[in-house]
Structures are given as structure tokens and as C-alpha cells.
């Protein structure tokens, strides 16, 4: 049976899955969920436009993660897909740095597809556009520093998993005058993006990027699922604290089931 102490988390996972399916069904039937604006993502198109005018390249960075890092990397790749489409359409120079070899072929395919879909396949230049900088955070960072300075990057979209190098990247690109949108879930590193980037997608906002940019009602329904749970959890906190104040640890017991 379900392992001891894991009942509560199993229930959360299953309920989440069920509600997700229900809301997707509802959105198929026409129920609309509207997402609040995420200025960081709205700014990307403008940033690409500015880079195009200046004739300088943009960097779309999916972060350090591998496919096995899961959702964070997948969200990062969704943003790369979006940015590469705009870049292909506008004829903007695009550079996608890659750390983990697992996503190297994926990025290659994403960028190639974007250029094909925009009918610009002759502009696709993997040698220039896709740079494998080694699956070590520091070789990758050193490589990015080189790119920032030598290519005079105009916009740096870095959404994915980032670790201690966050500060170096944000400062290096700020120093060449790049417009920056950062996004990450690693709480240790969020402060550095917040301090040095023009826009930062914090935690959950970054994971929602794929759904937000797709503008697909079914994907936004999955975001609505999250919100339902957030409100429930807020309720759990209120009730838990009230119970705690009258000396009952019922809620904690429930959670620890």
C-alpha cells in the first residue's frame, strides 16, 4: 500500500491530476480562463525588435538543466521555441547556448523548425546559432561571457535552471548593455536576477511561461488548476494557524499522514 507518511502527498498529486483533466475538458467545451499579464514575457517581442534594429544578436538561454531535470528545462525550451520563432520572422541574429548534451539535439531541432515554419530556412546557421559550451556550469558561463562581449549581445533571455553563475551572467550581459529577461525557480539565485535583470520571472511564473506564450486555452486551464490549489493551500494555512492558536495540531497531523 501507499508508503507511510506519503498519503497526503499522494492525494495532492492525484487530486491535482483529476482537477487538471476536468478543467482541460471544461476549456474544450468553451470555458475561458484568462491569465494576468506577465510583463517579462510581454517584453520579449519588443526586445527582439530592438535587437533587430540595432543589428545585434539576441541570446535565448534555456539554462543548465537536462531533460532529466524535468519541468524547468521543458519550460525553458518552450521559451526558446517562442523566441526563435520571432527571431526567424524578423531576421534577428539568434544564439542559443547549450550546456547539457541531452538538449543539444532538441535545441537544434527547435531552431531549425522555427526557421522552416517562418520560411527562412536559408537563415538557419547551426554553427553560429547553437553553441555547446560544455555540461559544466563554469565552462558554460565562461563561454557565455565570451559570447556577450564578442557578439555585443542586445538582448538576453535566460529562462530555465540557473545556479551560482546567475550573478555573473546577469552582470556580464548588463555590462554590454543587453536588455535582460531572467526566469528561474532556484530560490538561492532569484535575488541576483531580480537585482540585475530588467524583468525577472520568479519561480512559478517561469514555469507558466510555456502556457502563457502558447495562448492555448487548454494549457491555460492547467494554470487555473494551480490557482485552485493555491487558494486551497492558503486556506490550509489559515485554518492550520487558527487551530495552532487554540492548541490543536490537527492540520499538521493531517499533512503528515
Amino acid at each position: 500500500m501507499i508508503a507511510e507518511g506519503m498519503i497526503s502527498s499522494f492525494v495532492i498529486l492525484i487530486l491535482f491530476f483529476i482537477l487538471l483533466l476536468v478543467l482541460i475538458q471544461q476549456s474544450k467545451k468553451g470555458r475561458k480562463f484568462e491569465m494576468k499579464h506577465l510583463p517579462g514575457l510581454d517584453a520579449i517581442e519588443e526586445a527582439v525588435g530592438r535587437a533587430t534594429e540595432m543589428g545585434r544578436p539576441i541570446v535565448a538561454n534555456p539554462g543548465l538543466g537536462s531533460l532529466r531535470t524535468g519541468p524547468v528545462t521543458i519550460a525553458g525550451l518552450s521559451v526558446v521555441t517562442y523566441v526563435s520563432r520571432i527571431a526567424a520572422r524578423n531576421g534577428t541574429k539568434l544564439i542559443v547556448p547549450v550546456a547539457d548534451p541531452e538538449i543539444l539535439p532538441v535545441v537544434d531541432e527547435i531552431v531549425r523548425t522555427s526557421y522552416n515554419l517562418e520560411g527562412m530556412s536559408e537563415d538557419f546557421d547551426p554553427d553560429y546559432q547553437i553553441r555547446w559550451l560544455g555540461n559544466n556550469q563554469w565552462s558554460w558561463t565562461a563561454g557565455l561571457q565570451g559570447i556577450a562581449e564578442r557578439e555585443q549581445v542586445a538582448a538576453n533571455i535566460m529562462i530555465g535552471s540557473f545556479a551560482a553563475e546567475a550573478m555573473i551572467l546577469a552582470e556580464t550581459f548588463a555590462r554590454v548593455g543587453a536588455f535582460q529577461v531572467g526566469g528561474l525557480t532556484n530560490t538561492y539565485q532569484i535575488p541576483f536576477f531580480v537585482a540585475a535583470c530588467d524583468y525577472t520571472l520568479i519561480g512559478d511564473e517561469m514555469l507558466a511561461a510555456g502556457a502563457y506564450l502558447s495562448n492555448d486555452p487548454e494549457q491555460i486551464a492547467t494554470i487555473a488548476t494551480e490557482d485552485v490549489f493555491k487558494i486551497v493551500f492558503v486556506g490550509v494555512i489559515v485554518v492550520g494557524v487558527l487551530l495552532g492558536l487554540v492548541g490543536s495540531d490537527l492540520m499538521i497531523k493531517l499533512l503528515e499522514m
Binding site: 531541432e109 532569484i190 493551500f233
Partner: protein, 203 residues
């Protein structure tokens, strides 16, 4: 005493060239950067072949033929560069994606939800402070709601807005706190240069 160990001199050369980038991009940095990337990739191959041996071939040799499956899936990845049969690699990728997602979604409910909620509602020795920290978590969660327009309208938007300011305080504190850790790292490299290479520091 200045060191005569070539390993220390090579290490010192790379230390100085990497530091030099902070001042200006230069050919020596470019050289160090390319060396670094190449060394990392070489190292990845060495470690990759080692894990292939450890997790793949050794297990098959020991009679666990199931490990043929991941090896076949791995081989599919090589198809990526074929213009017609590139899609075969999706089989290997699919396994990786499944593993990545599976490992994440199975642990976050416990590690990031249940344990964090428990932490949030545990009042501790000082109930007033406990209520304050619980409210902090409360407002931050409110800030991260996306499809609930009502929460972000006046006057109830005071909650997510308070959440936003508390987040800024948190980030400021974390930023300040990290300065020390980071300075320590630079000091570590300088100690290497000054003591191990140049022999300038006393005991």
C-alpha cells in the same frame, strides 16, 4: 618560496586568465575559455563511458539482460543527425523526459508542498511571530495566482502587493548574505596565488 610545481603554474595561469576577463575580454581569456569547454567535454566523455560501463555493460555481463533496453534507447539518440530517420531518436528522448518528469512530480508534493505547508503552520515558541511568518507565506502564494483576476483588483490586491514587498525584503537580505560566501571564494583563489604559487603568506 615560489613554487616549482608545473601543475601549480598551469593552474595559476588559468586562474589569472579567467580573472582577467572581469577587466576586459582578451585573447588569453578566449584561449582559457576554449580550453575549458574542450576539457569539460572531454571529461564528460570519460565519465560517460565510465557510467556506461558501470550501469550498462557490467550489469548485462552479470546477467541482467534488461539493461539492453536503455542501451538500445541510447543508440536511438545517435539518429538525430540523420536527415530522414531523425525521429528514431525521439524514443530515447521520450524515456529521458519521462524519467525527468516522473522524478520531479513524485517528490515535489512531499518535499515542496506538504513539508512547506507544515513549516508554514508550525507556530513555534512565539505564536505571534508564527502568525506573522504564516501570513508572509500566505501573501506570497497570493502573489503567484495567475488566472484569478479578482485577487489582483483593488482593494483585496493589498495581499499580493504586500507579498511582493516581502519578497523584495527577502531578496535583499539573501543578496546581502551571499556577498560573504562569494568573497570567500575569491579569497580562496587569491590564497592559492599568494601562498601556493608565490609563497608570500605566513602560516
Amino acid at each position: 618560496m615560489i613554487s616549482t610545481d608545473p601543475s601549480i603554474w598551469i593552474a595559476a595561469f588559468f586562474t589569472v586568465t579567467i580573472m582577467s576577463y572581469a577587466f576586459r575580454d582578451n585573447p588569453l581569456f578566449k584561449f582559457a575559455e576554449r580550453t575549458f569547454i574542450a576539457a569539460v567535454i572531454g571529461h564528460a566523455v570519460v565519465m560517460g563511458i565510465d557510467s556506461l560501463r558501470q550501469f550498462g555493460f557490467n550489469k548485462i555481463q552479470a546477467g541482467n539482460i534488461f539493461y539492453v533496453i536503455p542501451i538500445l534507447l541510447g543508440i536511438t539518440i545517435l539518429a538525430r543527425y540523420h536527415s530522414e530517420y531523425y525521429w528514431i531518436s525521439r524514443y530515447g528522448m521520450a524515456a529521458l523526459v519521462g524519467i525527468g518528469v516522473g522524478l520531479q512530480i513524485r517528490t515535489v508534493p512531499e518535499a515542496n508542498i506538504v513539508s512547506q505547508l507544515t513549516k508554514a503552520i508550525t507556530l513555534g515558541d512565539n505564536p505571534l511571530l508564527g502568525v506573522f511568518t504564516a501570513l508572509t507565506t500566505f501573501t506570497v502564494i497570493m502573489h503567484f495566482t495567475f488566472t484569478t483576476k479578482k485577487i489582483h483588483e483593488k482593494p483585496q490586491n493589498v495581499l499580493p502587493v504586500v507579498g511582493r514587498y516581502l519578497m523584495l525584503i527577502a531578496f535583499g537580505a539573501a543578496f546581502g548574505n551571499t556577498v560573504m560566501t562569494r568573497m570567500n571564494l575569491l579569497i580562496g583563489r587569491l590564497i592559492f596565488l599568494l601562498r601556493d604559487l608565490l609563497g608570500l603568506m605566513g602560516a
